[in-house]
């Protein structure tokens, strides 16, 4: 199996124009992703994780102000490719996405098989018959029998609709699938069913995922590596084992302390304060106003990315000289 980088993101920044000022939703983010690997991006709401995902597939909102950096897919910079080429060759063909709450966005008047087959007809110019055949195959793969393929969305349960949405993201054989809170509207048992499905697909199709969620316990079901986002920045990125064993940013540690677990006797802690406004983020380390271990330097100077070990970086001064 090849072990090359599928995706390389370098110094990626996004900002939006609003009436109150410019929002720096994504600030100078770099990471890479190998084929077959899953990166989970966790953070509180408003930390920019969905902006990042939408940025990767270049679905910018209208009030976009600034786009900077590089996104290399298989070595090719796709961030500044012209829109028509990106739409035809990259979006959905190479990178697809499962949107948050997408199961509620299925078209109510079209049969699900048609909705799944649509990208094949649009992007590949396939005729209806073979597109439907392939759509039924993929629906079978995600556990929807052909009897249900001929039904309308309202006839399906929430879990089944979510499976349909996943089938839509897989139908074009993309290399990279972005999952934005793929289970957030589902019940716990249904959620586990979907996680099982995603796990199985990853293995069978050697898929590469970027998995975005606020639910840390859930990431353990899928992630090989973890990225923690805070106020538009990745403050720590690490292999998943180190995320639990050696969290090196104060925010990561506090986040881990706030995860409720059923087993074990851990007492829960909350993180005081709330995330900062991204219109005028705090100086220095963006977490310093909420950090219990804040030092003078944190308030004035942005911390560099400290290398803890191979593949493990944290933006926190406490790692100085460790």
């Amino acid at each position: 199996m090849e072990n090359s980088d599928l995706l390389k993101v370098q110094n990626f920044s996004l900002s939006y124009r609003t009436r109150k000022g410019d929002v720096e939703a994504v600030n100078n983010i770099s990471f890479d992703l190998k084929k077959g690997e899953t990166l989970a991006i966790v953070g509180e709401s408003g930390c920019g994780k969905s902006s990042l995902a939408r940025g990767l597939i270049r679905l910018f909102p209208r009030n976009i102000k600034k786009v900077e950096g590089k996104i290399l897919l298989d070595g090719k910079d796709v961030l500044f490719l012209d829109e028509e080429t990106f739409r035809r060759e990259i979006r959905w063909r190479e990178i697809s996405m499962v949107f948050q709450g997408a199961m509620n966005s299925l078209n109510p008047v079209l049969k699900v098989v048609f909705q799944v087959a649509e990208p094949l007809m649009v992007h590949f110019g396939m005729d209806k018959e073979s597109a439907f055949k392939r759509a039924k195959e993929v629906l079978g793969l995600v556990g929807i029998s052909s009897a249900f393929a001929e039904r309308y969305p309202f006839e399906l349960s929430g879990g089944m609709k979510q499976r349909v949405v996943i089938a839509m993201a897989l139908i074009t054989n993309p290399k990279l699938v972005l999952l934005d809170e793929p289970t957030s509207a589902l019940d716990i048992i249904t959620q586990e069913n979907i996680m099982n499905l995603l796990k199985m697909l990853k293995k069978e199709l050697n898929l590469t995922y970027i998995f975005i969620t606020h639910d840390i316990a859930l990431t353990s079901e899928l992630a090989d590596r973890m990225a923690v986002m805070y106020a538009g920045e990745i403050v720590e990125i690490s292999p998943v084992e180190d995320f639990y064993k050696n969290p090196s940013h104060v925010y990561t540690r506090l986040l881990l302390d706030s995860v409720p677990t059923l087993r074990g006797d851990k007492s829960l802690k909350s993180i005081p304060g709330s995330p900062p406004s991204l219109i005028d983020p705090p100086s220095g380390c963006r977490f310093h106003p909420r950090c219990p271990l804040v030092m003078d330097i944190c308030k004035v100077k942005e911390p560099p990315s400290y290398k803890i070990k191979e593949g493990h970086f944290a933006k926190c001064y406490l790692n100085e000289g460790r």
């Binding site: 899953t38 509180e44 709401s45 349960s157 879990g159 019940d187 716990i188 048992i189 249904t190 959620q191 586990e192 069913n193 996680m195 099982n196 796990k199 199985m200 606020h214 639910d215 840390i216 316990a217 859930l218 990431t219 353990s220 079901e221 899928l222 992630a223 090989d224 998943v240 084992e241 995320f243 639990y244 506090l254 986040l255 881990l256 706030s258 995860v259 409720p260 677990t261 059923l262 087993r263 007492s267 829960l268 802690k269 909350s270 993180i271 709330s274």
Partner: protein
Amino acid sequence: MNNELLRVEELKVWFDIKKGLFSRPLYVKAVDGVNFALNIGESVSLVGESGSGKTTLGKTILRLYRPTSGKIIFDGKDISNSDSKDMKWYRRETGLVQQDPFGALPPHFNIYRILEEPLIIHNIGNRSERRDMIYRALEEVKLTPVEDFAPKYPHMLSGGQMQRVVIARALIMRPKLVVADEPVSMLDASVRVEILELLKSMQDRHKTSLIYITHDLATVRMFTHWIFIMYAGEIVERALTKELLANPLHPYTNALLNAIPDPDPENRNVLKEVPPGEPPDLVNPPIGCRFAPRCSQSKDICFKERPPELEIRDKHWVKCWLYS
């Protein structure tokens, strides 16, 4: 002996979706035969998937819905069919914390006015006494300095702060019973713990009984005395929290517990055992045990007869043929 606050007997709440004059009427059997008792100051977590009837049960206990049959006995009085005149005292003894703080607060009232409203309705205190009560309530939910918060309007607050106002409003009458319906599901993970701790401390301080409705078993562990597990309109298992987590008996409880992800990176390498399918349609629920079609241990009888509710261990009831 009697410090029982609430007793629910064979409670049924059916909603009619089709009235029948000549044809058979159709009902959604949202709550179908629920029994339990709760002592003063005790708290219970009502856990179940969406559509299991947990919100309907909570709202019926507050008499926001009228039960189809069965009894709700609060403080020795049967309130299951009292009309609204007799209900005023009951409204005073109970409080509700809604799921969605963004929709629960009237946008054109400031916080002071929102908290004053129940006091005015129930004719409590004069102007300055009310003021003291409101300030004390705000202090208790840690919206300080109170002088700053009182004149604010809901849209000026964050989600967590709004939920604190909702809690303050539910508790300002010092009710004996509070129903909190998914009070943290709309909030960020870092704020959730804070709100839950606040609810718990209020409950400890004022000996308020609390019914905490949630789908998230992971948050209930250190929170309430009891756990009731609901499935398809029934309480399938109920026990003290520790006992239930240590000795889950019902296959559905086991499935729920299993489904909760533990933060362990090993998880990604294994597939979990999860019951297939979805909860049943409550218009035509299965004849026997309602979980039988999804249950890996079901026997013949499970499909034919509804299992009785039995106390298998001390204060541990379960509705399952495996134990009968």
